[in-house]
Symmetry: C2
Subunit: 298 residues, 2 copies
């Protein structure tokens, strides 16, 4: 398998799906819709919808019902980036080399555009009911989407991470750091793997297994971020390095050192791959993707 | 009917319902949940859940399935107030005499708490599926809730209102002002009236009629706001008067004068009451409530 080519094919398919579900920029509210589309088209990896599609296909899913959910999870992810970049939170003007939403459209629109994306994610996912599919699956998929996004999921993790960013004034212990990483990052990787499995109609055991894979993958992903912040360069990473040290943030590197953090990424990734290995279905690409993310250079 | 007593009874019932659906303030994310509960308990009129319950009962509904939706619409409304008060938008430190969310919990938490409430509204409304009720109704109710909240509903109206707040630099025509009022305000009054009717299992004609009642009621409600801003006092209103003039905002008063605006409120309210009159069911309280809001002093 040529991984890069297979990834490119999936990104293109995902781009096409997302495009179909974005709002038309018309009417008096055309401006906020333009801001939403700008944010959605600012060049993300499309990792979450790709994970959902892989999981869905792995469990035998072959219908279009997964598509509104693919678009929805990318809208939720983008919402979190738009709000994270606000002056009230991280205060970033650029993301992936492009000016971020509030820098282009103003701060008020930054807030409302993020709200608009979060809400539009539900408007979009609810379109799942228009497809001829098992409604039990769609209901469960909606519940997982909402829970993993909310204050017991991603938003909960972000709210605690804000404390970690107060210039190290609060001493973060490992269990609190794990809470942040498992919610801020892992929850929104668990959700697409679970939703793919749910929509394909698989059993509860396999859904829980996909959740565990997402959990380990998400934790490894975030620890890899910590490592790159101290081992990479601004040129390769496309963003300033040593930012955690500068912000006096507790990370896996400050807790375990670079070598300890590397070992943790390896252990978690092996765990995720072993869990995946025990499941049936076509999973060659997903296996490669998990390794690719854990050992990425940027 | 003693209107004030009947209203008080309904507010108390609604408070009890809302309380049951608020998140427990525990775990690492206890702080954001505390901020959400603070915002939800900052003394609102509970108008939207009350409208939903009245509509539900009027069409013969008698089950608890309406309750998660009652809590959800109040969470959505509160989310919009929390974000509106942010320095990025209105920059208000007080609401109803209490310090607003970001003034108590900080600006980052103000953003995340608003997001948390919006998302929790869907987590809560999705609990509707746990009740033994017609799933078709719940699916439709969820769609209406999402659409009336989003960029073709309330959030769309707020995004255009932001333009109107740019110190009058943009000339607002009547059709744009109507767009703002019908979306910013009316959409979230249409939603509860429609959802009550939907969950009670009524027909499409009656649902559309309830939407129209909400539309006229919402427009009248907002125009009444414009009037009070120039005819009331800060003491009675509990907030500064002449704020529209100060912010150079276009309002119904600047377009039609106080007398013209009064006539418009009267015309819209008579329209709403005539539509309600044509429907079956117990609607004495709802009739009084519509008049009460249109001719309120604060």
């Amino acid at each position: 398998m040529n991984f890069d080519e297979e990834l490119k094919r999936r990104v293109e398919k995902t781009e096409e799906v997302i495009r179909r579900f974005l709002p038309a920029e018309e009417g008096f509210s055309g401006h906020i819709k333009e801001a939403m589309n700008y944010s959605m088209n600012a060049g993300g990896k499309r990792l979450r919808p790709i994970l959902m599609m892989e999981s869905y296909r792995m469990f035998g899913g072959s219908h279009a019902v997964v598509e509104p959910f693919m678009a929805a999870i990318e809208m939720i992810h983008t919402h979190s980036l738009v709000h994270d970049d606000l002056p009230a939170i991280d205060g970033d003007e650029y993301r992936r080399g492009k000016r971020t939403t509030h820098a282009v459209y103003g701060e008020a629109m930054g807030v409302l555009c993020g709200d608009g994306l979060l809400n539009y994610a539900y408007e979009t996912a609810l379109k799942g009911f228009e497809y001829p599919d098992n409604r039990e699956h769609i209901m469960l998929a909606l519940s997982v989407l909402a829970r993993k996004t909310g204050v017991d999921g991603m938003l909960g993790g972000q709210s605690v991470d804000v404390e970690n960013e107060k210039d190290g004034r609060i001493k973060i212990e490992k269990d609190m750091l794990d809470y942040i990483y498992l919610h801020k990052t892992a929850a929104l990787l668990e959700a697409p793997l679970m939703i793919g499995a749910i929509l394909a109609g698989t059993d509860r055991g396999a859904i829980t297994c996909m959740e565990q894979i997402g959990r380990k993958m998400g934790l490894a992903f975030q620890i890899r971020d910590d490592i790159l912040d101290v081992t990479s360069t601004t040129e390769v990473l496309g963003k300033p390095v040593f930012s955690d040290e500068k912000n006096q943030k507790t990370t896996y590197v400050t807790l375990l050192g670079v070598e300890g953090a590397r070992e943790e990424v390896h252990r978690l990734t092996e765990n995720a791959l072993r869990l995946l290995d025990a499941l049936e279905g076509e999973k060659a690409f997903l296996t490669e993707l998990i390794s690719h993310l854990a050992y990425r250079d940027k």
